[in-house]
């Protein structure tokens, strides 16, 4: 229990230990602890950011969905309108085409009728001449009675 040079030895040992601890032990451990703290903080921040981004994406997707629905509605409306238009168009086309055909047919019929009339007229004249010659028992000169005959034919 005497105070002796152990005191000095102990002090030297103490300072050496403290120096060693300060130089080789404390800094790397503290650094690792700080690095881990930072990692954890970063991770938490990243998680928070991810959550936020997901929320945004969800919102955005909902918006896109609404927009798509609206566009589809629009397209359908347009298509319906167009279809109605086409139907209308073809209706008017068909109508005008029908009318045109009708007119042409009528013109043809008219021509046929006229042609038939002409034929009949000529035949009636010849029949009438033949009948008259029978009645008169003599030759009717067609040339002499041409005026009369033409008048008759026009009356038929």
């Amino acid at each position: 229990m005497n105070i002796n040079a152990t005191l000095i030895g102990q002090s030297i040992t103490f300072f050496f230990f403290v120096w060693f601890c300060m130089k080789y032990v404390w800094p790397p451990i503290m650094q690792a602890l700080e690095a881990r703290k930072k990692q954890i903080a970063d991770g938490l921040a990243a998680g928070e950011r991810g959550k936020h981004e997901q929320e945004l994406a969800q919102k955005r997707s909902a918006e896109v969905l609404v927009e798509a629905k609206r566009q589809a509605q629009e397209i359908i409306a347009k298509a319906e309108k167009r279809a109605a238009e086409i139907v209308e168009e073809s209706k008017t086309d068909a109508k005008s085409e029908g009318e045109r055909i009708l007119v042409a047919a009528r013109a043809e019929i008219g021509q046929e009728v006229n042609r038939a009339k002409e034929g009949l007229r000529a035949q009636v004249v010849s029949i009438a001449i033949a009948g008259a010659s029978k009645v008169l028992e003599r030759e009717v000169d067609a040339n002499t009675h041409n005026d009369l005959l033409t008048k008759l034919a026009a009356q038929i």
């Binding site: 005497n2 002796n4 152990t6 103490f14 601890c21 032990v25 690792a32």
Partner: protein, 291 residues
């Protein structure tokens, strides 16, 4: 227990004697270096002698602590810590919290200093929990006359550390406040006066008061640790004496030793913690400017 020591007082005295290496005086007046074989011889060696057991055990224990922590520090990872790193980080975090809580200045020395103090003192105190006769008996068998296992029951060890801390306190006081600032702190407080003459008269009184406060820091640090450990060791020795006094007392002693050892776990940790905390506080005071 050495071979010839049989009485209780001899047993106790033997346990409380350090293995001292120094200059021995032999019969014809000459001197030579060697180990003291009696307490009287150790006393005669004076200041220039060394307690080999104190130095040896404290060196081994300090080296053990530094080796463990250094091996962890070398392979430390900021990823998932495992085993030893977990433990080391827990200790380091605890020390760092204590330093942050009590130390307001900025000094990279304080935290590693606190770690060293805490673990070194803890390990030295921990030797107290080993049964008091194990290592001394072994030493006796090997022919070593004395062996004191617990370095912190040697005032040389506790004063060595306390004086080192005191040196740091003085160094940082002067570094932070300047020599005049530190001198002012010692002489201009606590008694102050507007009158210059009265102030000069107050100076010696202040110096006395502040000087006592200053000196009491290392003394209380060293004596608190030494006293606690010495008393604890003494109780273990007294309990150990009971083993030699028959079956009934022996088994009762066993219970006592178990109880005291469990209680002592608290004491050794607490003493290490108190030494560390007071060191931090003293250094904090050294870093603070008073106006």
């Amino acid at each position: 227990m050495s071979g010839e020591a049989h009485t209780s007082s001899e047993y106790i005295r033997h346990h409380l004697q350090n293995l001292t290496f120094g200059q021995l005086t032999d019969g014809n007046g000459g001197t030579h270096w060697g180990f003291a074989h009696t307490a009287e011889q150790a006393k005669e060696m004076g200041f220039w002698a060394v307690n080999v057991d104190t130095l040896g055990f404290s060196l081994v224990l300090g080296a053990l602590f530094l080796w463990l922590f250094h091996s962890v520090a070398k392979s430390v990872t900021s990823g998932v810590p495992s085993g030893a790193q977990n433990f080391v980080e827990w200790v380091v975090d605890f020390i760092d919290d204590s330093v942050r809580g009590s130390f307001n200045g900025k000094n990279p020395l304080v935290a590693p200093l606190s770690l060293t103090i805490f673990l070194w003192i803890f390990l030295m105190n921990f030797m107290d929990l080993l049964p008091v006769d194990w290592i001394p008996h072994l030493a006796t068998a090997l022919g070593v006359p004395f062996l004191k296992v617990v370095p912190s029951t040697d005032p040389n060890a506790t004063f060595g550390m306390a004086l080192s801390v005191f040196a740091l306190v003085l160094y940082y006081s002067i570094k932070m406040k300047g020599a005049s600032g530190f001198a002012g702190e010692l002489t201009l407080m606590p008694f102050q006066a507007k009158n210059k003459l009265v102030q000069v008269l107050f100076m010696p009184i202040n110096l006395l008061l502040e000087g006592v406060t200053l000196i009491s820091k290392p003394v209380s640090l060293a004596l608190r640790l030494f006293g606690n450990m010495y008393a604890g060791e003494m109780i273990f020795i007294l309990i150990a004496i009971m083993y030699g006094t028959g079956w009934a007392m022996g088994s009762f002693g066993g219970f006592l030793q178990l109880g005291w050892a469990i209680f002592h776990i608290l004491i050794i940790t607490l003493q290490a913690f108190i030494f560390m905390t007071l060191t931090i506080v003293y250094l904090d005071m050294a870093h603070q400017e008073h106006h």
